[in-house]
Assembly symmetry: C2
Homo-oligomer: 361 residues x 2
């Protein structure tokens, strides 16, 4: 770690494995299928840590990711993204090798799938349970019926899938949990209406805040959280995790100290952390919380010390004079990311605290 020269995404394997085990245990205790979303880590190596707790079915958000994991032996994959009919060749190639589930939002997709599929795929119908990003509303049963009726012999109906992404915008854990519960509640009429015809029907839900906070999963069949594998400052702020559950931090070199403006400049910008931010006090933006770093790992977040602006390669940290005077140009500090999925995507790889380099697809 002490030999780090440029911004490096550190991964604490112990924390990450504990996050994985906690969610796997909860799913097992609640007797729901655990189909974790791999879009956060996108790593074959981290995938192995999921295999170690018995996970065999996964979720991804693109066919490219599905192909990446399929090549490593994952053979039961849901692509939780509205089917992109421009990628039919990729879909058919994958469907021949693995058990592939697609997501249908628009009845217009069914015609093209019927025409162009050459192998069997499962499909979920995407339901908008309150997030309003995409999906049919639970009461749009005419459209749902039209999808079910039109689906041809290569399309096997698996159930209804929703993502209560609006829990990410909640202002408290209680509100996030209430939104998650309401979202699940809105799925129940669909089960009642369609379960006779489709007794194997799955109700699948996804959000990390809800899956972290909910005490039970009584009325659903499958959970697909992803972010929990690393968590981040946004999840901490929301109450989904403790700060000590955050499994990744960006190690950044200090390149300038500006005590007169209470700022530290680091080599670590929007191309490393992503430009995701949450509001901080005093009208500031929070692009990440700052920790000390030594050979064993990162400390807890330094009080009142946060990344307040980012340009392409620069990060500006606001800090007390006490913190600034304890640092030198050339030191390393660690930044806990606001949104770990985006930071992992920017960095395209990890280094564990033990110095192992880990892939990101």
């Amino acid at each position: 770690m002490l030999s780090i020269q440029t911004p490096t995404l550190l991964l604490n394997e112990d924390i990450c494995r504990a996050n994985i085990r906690r969610m796997a245990d909860k799913a097992a205790a609640q007797k729901v299928q655990f189909r974790p979303h791999f879009k956060t880590h996108q790593s074959l190596k981290v995938g192995v840590w999921f295999r170690d707790v018995g996970v065999s079915a996964i979720t991804v958000s693109s066919l490219e990711m599905a192909a990446y994991f399929a090549a490593d032996g994952w053979d039961d994959i849901t692509v939780a993204f509205p089917v992109n009919i421009r990628e039919m060749a990729t879909i058919n190639r994958l469907a021949e090798k693995i058990s592939l589930n697609l997501l249908v939002v628009d009845p217009a997709s069914i015609g093209i799938l019927n025409q162009q599929l050459t192998a069997e795929v499962g499909y979920f119908i995407k339901i908008d349970s309150g997030y309003h990003r995409t999906g049919l509303e639970p009461h749009e049963t005419t459209l749902i019926d039209s999808i079910l009726t039109r689906a041809g012999p290569y399309l096997r109906f698996r159930g209804f899938l929703t993502h209560a992404g609006h829990t990410y915008g909640a202002s408290s854990a209680a509100e996030a949990l209430a939104l998650h519960r309401e979202s699940r509640h809105r799925m129940q009429p669909l089960r009642r209406r369609y379960v006779k015809e489709y007794p194997q029907l799955i109700i699948s839900v996804g959000d990390t805040p809800g899956c972290s906070l909910a005490a039970d999963f009584a009325d659903i069949d499958e959970i697909r959280p992803g972010n929990f594998v690393f968590y981040d400052v946004m999840q901490y702020q929301l109450g989904s995790c403790k700060l000590s559950d955050i499994a990744v931090a960006l190690a950044v070199p200090v390149v300038a100290l500006h005590p007169q403006r209470h700022q530290i400049v680091v080599y670590g910008g929007g191309v490393h952390l992503s430009k995701e931010w949450i509001p901080a006090t005093d009208g500031l933006r929070n692009y990440g919380l700052v920790c000390r770093l030594d050979a064993r790992g990162w400390s807890s977040a330094l009080d009142g010390t946060l990344v307040c602006s980012l340009s392409q390669e620069h990060g500006c940290i606001t800090a007390s004079l006490q913190v600034i005077s304890s640092l030198h140009v050339g030191d390393l500090v660690a930044v806990l990311p606001i949104h770990s999925c985006m930071t992992a995507q920017c960095m395209g790889g990890y280094t564990t605290l033990r110095g192992k380099v880990i892939d990101h697809g």
Copy 2:
């Protein structure tokens, strides 16, 4: 183009070459050194288009980028980022091969450079001319003197460099231009004070809004704009360019139409466009303007049609019923990015309208 399956960053070579030529001509007419910043495009191929108009000296924002371009024959490179003393081995390797200029902000760096340099480098002192990101203030001549005095035999002083990045936050072209002028004005006492001792002293400025808007560069020696190579919606909004000067657009497949909420969902999210946004009317966020796309390229931006939210892979576009009813699932549309540097970094490559695939380092 019509065979595009997944989000693809299109590059209009004609527009890009015209942007390059316009800025090169302006620099030549004003008799200033044109040292374009290559952090926006990060492409060897686009670099060739700069060579075609006679550019031989460039700016980058990391040693990694410097090495990328040095390997392609660029031998006069300024790394316009506070020197990261953790990368001394890379600095020495590069300095042996090319004419390398570093940026010194913190006097503490000088001691380490003196100790560890094994080849000659040029250095600029970074001046804060109003942006307040990093740099010494023009009146901090004691610190400047201390840098100049302490600099050892391998360090050759080149001049004072500033980046008036606060022009990006201006609310009008007139304000951006005024900030750019004020920033240049603040550099002049430095020239007066140090020019006798350093007659070759260079005053170097960098921002795209200022360099695009200014009619003359009378009081400076070098310009380092970067973004102008592609421009983007942020620059258009600011008045630095016309919409028709934007040289890149992200082609994205339509995956769902939601006429009831006036929305289109596309395969193209924060991992493709970056999460950079600017405020739009009605409290909306603008993550990109939307154009039609056909085999010849993209249209002008569709009235009132913009990307209003982004998640990892999803983009939600707000559009009129007229626009929505003209599209089908599986169609392509093009998104003009808010900040082209970030989008180019996310995408890591380009496809020209003629179908050529182009590198991004």
